[in-house]
């Protein structure tokens, strides 16, 4: 039941009319209309790349639409660059992003007024600042001492301070981007309380999240975006989740699946009751030879924590990891690498590449000894080994020693995967291997993953882009709040049922 919400311009705090935004190769927004009333909490949903972020940036003034206009509290945003964002902020738009932006060494009060500390003649008036901070926190019914240093706060409390910060000035529209992704279930209630206080004060809230149960508790309606358009806005009270999923996915044709019947040989990796509090509650699964096993789950469901625990990068509270029936739970990451496990991280730039080193050295870094003769790295062997990987997986680079930092995201990702192929790893743990890479590179990475599986390697494929899992996975496990809740086996993994299991 798609209802065109009544949009009486008088009551709208923020409105977007016919906004279109074209980026090179992508139509990020396509004639979008959006409006939100005073005191309304609206959920905003959509897959990665559906246009949510661009819409948010439109409202905060960070992006100027090619056509169409944005109105905040009755006045139209003009100008560009900083001028536009300052204007949006002046009109009352505030956004809280996933990455927290607090200065941990400072007190809550100092953070609330960051850069605008109350002062007289250049001297900070701490009393005044604390007084104002106390009032602000009280408006959100937060019981926090403004003198506490942020470093001593829990993640949830920090998130609440971020929200309290938007109260400074005269906020009209507050945008929360996946605010609960880093919170444990018990802490979410605190956040909800703060959001309800915002709404009660007449502030409009846009709440970006995909956790249906949360959305239903906090929002009245949900706007679903798809392919740069508003696919629909639904009253949550009367809508069931499958309808919302249908809006998110649209009628996607079942394109080029690379996997038919699920395959997989003997079990190579066996994980039992693995627990890493607070994010992993105790998960078990088997990974078979030649199998691509997908992990699906929302941001904050424990995907990355699980991979890190399997890889031995984080201490495990309980449970076992068996490799070829041998217990490796207590072994270090380095030992796992030697026994044939390889891992590619979620954030390529921060944890994946060594940007100044060449493609060749980035590739052989997993095992220098293979290109060394009597401990001396042989330039010709390194060139041969790296050239082999470059050709095999189609890395586009001018020279083999071109700094990896200069390559495109897709090619960087191929280098990060390629180094494990070079090392001869049998088990690959791939965390979001297609994040931020272009469409062509994506399909090349899918093909590469299937090819590796066909060679007998076992692959764990973690993705937040649900629709890519059915394309490449023999099996998909759905992770929710630190537990596996459902298993899907090919053929017959459908994106919509998979997504329903995640939400």
């Amino acid at each position: 039941m798609q209802t065109a919400r009544k949009q009486d311009p008088q009551t709208l705090v923020a409105a977007v009319h016919g906004a279109t935004k074209q980026y090179p190769g992508v139509l990020a927004l396509d004639d979008v209309d959006f409006g939100i009333r005073r005191g309304e909490v609206r959920a905003l949903l959509g897959k990665n790349g559906a246009g949510k972020s661009t819409l948010i940036r439109l409202l905060t003034g960070a992006t100027v639409p090619d056509s169409g206009d944005v109105t905040i509290d009755g006045s139209s945003l003009t100008g560009s660059g900083t001028q536009r964002t300052v204007e949006a902020a002046r009109l009352g738009v505030r956004a809280v992003y996933q990455e927290l932006s607090l200065i941990v060494g400072m007190s809550i009060a100092e953070n609330l007024f960051l850069g605008r500390w109350p002062s007289s003649m250049g001297v900070l008036s701490h009393g005044e600042m604390e007084h104002q901070a106390r009032e602000t926190l009280a408006r959100l019914e937060l019981k926090l001492d403004p003198r506490r240093r942020v470093a001593t706060l829990s993640p949830a409390e920090r998130q609440l301070v971020e929200i309290a910060r938007v109260m400074i000035g005269e906020p009209k529209l507050v945008i929360l981007d996946e605010p609960t992704s880093s919170l444990a279930a018990a802490e979410v209630e605190l956040l909800f309380k703060a959001v309800r206080s915002l709404a009660a004060a007449g502030i409009a809230v846009i709440y970006v999240s995909h956790r249906m149960s949360e959305i239903r508790q906090i929002a009245e309606a949900a706007t679903v975006m798809r392919d740069g358009k508003v696919a629909g806005t639904v009253e949550l009270a009367g809508a069931d989740t499958t309808e919302i999923i249908r809006l998110m996915l649209g009628h996607s044709e079942q394109e080029d699946r690379l996997v038919g019947e699920a395959r997989g040989g003997d079990t190579v990796l066996s994980v039992r009751h693995l627990a890493v509090p607070p994010k992993l509650a105790g998960v078990s699964f088997d990974l078979r030879r030649g199998e691509v096993l997908g992990f699906a789950g929302l941001l904050g469901s424990g995907r990355t924590e699980l991979l890190r625990a399997i890889g031995g990068l984080d201490a495990v509270r309980a449970g076992t990891v068996l490799l070829d029936e041998k217990d490796i739970t207590r072994g270090s990451y380095g030992e796992r690498v030697k026994s044939g496990i390889g891992m590619t991280p979620e954030s390529r730039k921060e944890d994946g590449i060594m940007p100044l080193l060449g493609v060749d050295e980035n590739t052989v870094a997993t095992d220098f000894s293979k290109v060394a003769v009597n401990g001396v790295i042989s330039a010709s062997r390194m060139a041969e080994a790296a050239g082999d990987i470059i050709r095999r997986i189609g890395i586009k680079t001018a020279r083999i020693d071109t700094p990896v930092g200069t390559l495109s995201g897709g090619n960087q990702q191929k280098v990060v995967i390629g180094r494990w192929i070079y090392a001869g790893s049998r088990i690959l743990l791939l965390d979001e291997p297609t994040r931020g890479v272009d469409v062509e590179a994506k399909s090349q990475i899918y093909a590469l993953i299937r090819q590796l599986a066909a060679e007998g390697k076992s692959i764990v494929f973690v993705s937040s882009e649900i629709e890519e899992l059915p394309k490449v996975c023999d099996r998909v496990l759905v992770l929710k709040d630190g537990c596996f809740v459902q298993e899907f086996v090919a053929p017959g993994i459908e994106t919509d049922t998979l997504m329903a299991a995640c939400l």
Binding site: D351, M354, P355, G375, I377, I390
Partner: protein
């Protein structure tokens, strides 16, 4: 999978000899300094002064090779001067007690290794910033040297082996030969061994290096061990030259060393740098110091000139890097 790509070019040239832009720039600066002082300063071009230049260079360079590795790894070592003095005092005490000279030198090197390893372990296993760990050593070792010697030189009987170290071989100061041999070894290790390349990897992105299976903690310990040994070796050579152990010696050496490394183009943020750059940086520092002394410039004012030149050289370097980065990584 059938992806057709053309085979990319191989690495250009042999890396030990390949010069990059900033090294060429340094060579130009060196030539200007050399001929500038040569044309204007009496005695600068004399054979004796060249030997003296080499000896001065060696006293900085031997420690600077190891500190280059440390800075490439994204760390810092400020303990070099006191480490030199402390090992020199230890060696002198041992020789005074008639310990066999080979044994005494080995023991001095071992002391350097142990102290370096200690600082490295603090960094690698306890997360103490290397600046703080080595600052602690800087203070403690200088203090220990004065404390044990009462600030008096520790003399010892004449020793034939130390005389060789203090003297010339084939007409070149022995310390300069040691410096050049070590230069070759450090260049080789940094470019052609897994240990050396791992240092670059750790400095470039420690998280990524860790995920590649590189033992980051071990690398971090080893570079400080190496630095301790090199400082101890510099201490041995200095003791041989002075004929005694002196608690106050090598004062401020750590800053000459760091300045030489940084002038040589090694980035304090890690991941980038070369031994050749450090070699050139060492000569820049040495030439400036030597030339100013010969010109009879007021010693206090020399320090001012040195400070200005160090900052100017590094600034030029950063501008070159920035230009190059803009070209490589795009605006």
């Amino acid at each position: 999978m059938s992806v057709t790509t053309t085979t990319p070019d191989r690495r250009h040239g042999f890396r030990l000899l390949a010069l990059d832009m900033n090294e060429i720039g340094l060579i130009v600066i060196l030539l200007l300094l050399y001929f500038g002082f040569g044309a204007t300063t009496n005695g600068f071009l004399s054979a004796n002064n060249h030997l003296s230049l080499l000896r001065d260079a060696a006293s900085i360079a031997i420690a600077a090779w190891a500190v280059t590795l440390i800075i490439i790894a994204g760390e810092i070592d400020v303990s070099v001067g006191p480490m030199v003095a402390f090992t020199s005092v230890c060696l002198a005490f041992m020789l005074k007690a008639d310990v066999n000279v080979a044994l005494a030198i080995l023991a001095a090197l071992a002391i350097g290794a142990a102290l370096g390893t200690f600082a490295g372990s603090l960094r690698a296993y306890f997360g103490v910033p290397s600046f703080v760990a080595t600052l602690g050593l800087w203070s403690a070792l200088r203090g220990m040297s004065f404390f044990t010697t009462n600030a008096l030189p520790v003399t010892f009987p004449d020793n034939a082996f130390l005389d060789i170290l203090a003297d010339n071989m084939f007409g070149i100061p022995t310390s300069a030969i040691v410096m050049l041999v070590l230069f070759a070894i450090f260049s080789f290790v940094s470019q052609k061994t897994a240990y050396g390349r791992s240092i670059y990897a750790v400095g470039g992105n420690a998280n990524a290096a860790e995920l590649c299976g590189i033992n980051v903690a071990r690398i971090r310990v080893l570079i400080f061990t190496t630095s301790g040994v090199m400082a101890a070796l510099a201490g041995v050579l200095l003791t041989a030259r002075l004929g005694s152990g002196n608690a106050g010696t090598a004062s401020g050496l750590e800053f000459d060393v760091i300045a030489a490394v940084v002038i040589g183009g090694t980035a304090l943020s890690g991941g980038r740098g070369s031994m050749l750059g450090t070699l050139l940086g060492v000569f820049v520092i040495t030439l400036i110091g030597n030339g100013l002394v010969l010109r009879g410039i007021n010693p206090f004012f020399q320090e001012v000139v040195r400070g200005v030149i160090i900052v100017a050289a590094v600034l030029a370097n950063i501008l070159v890097m920035r230009y190059r980065e803009r070209r490589i990584f795009g605006a």
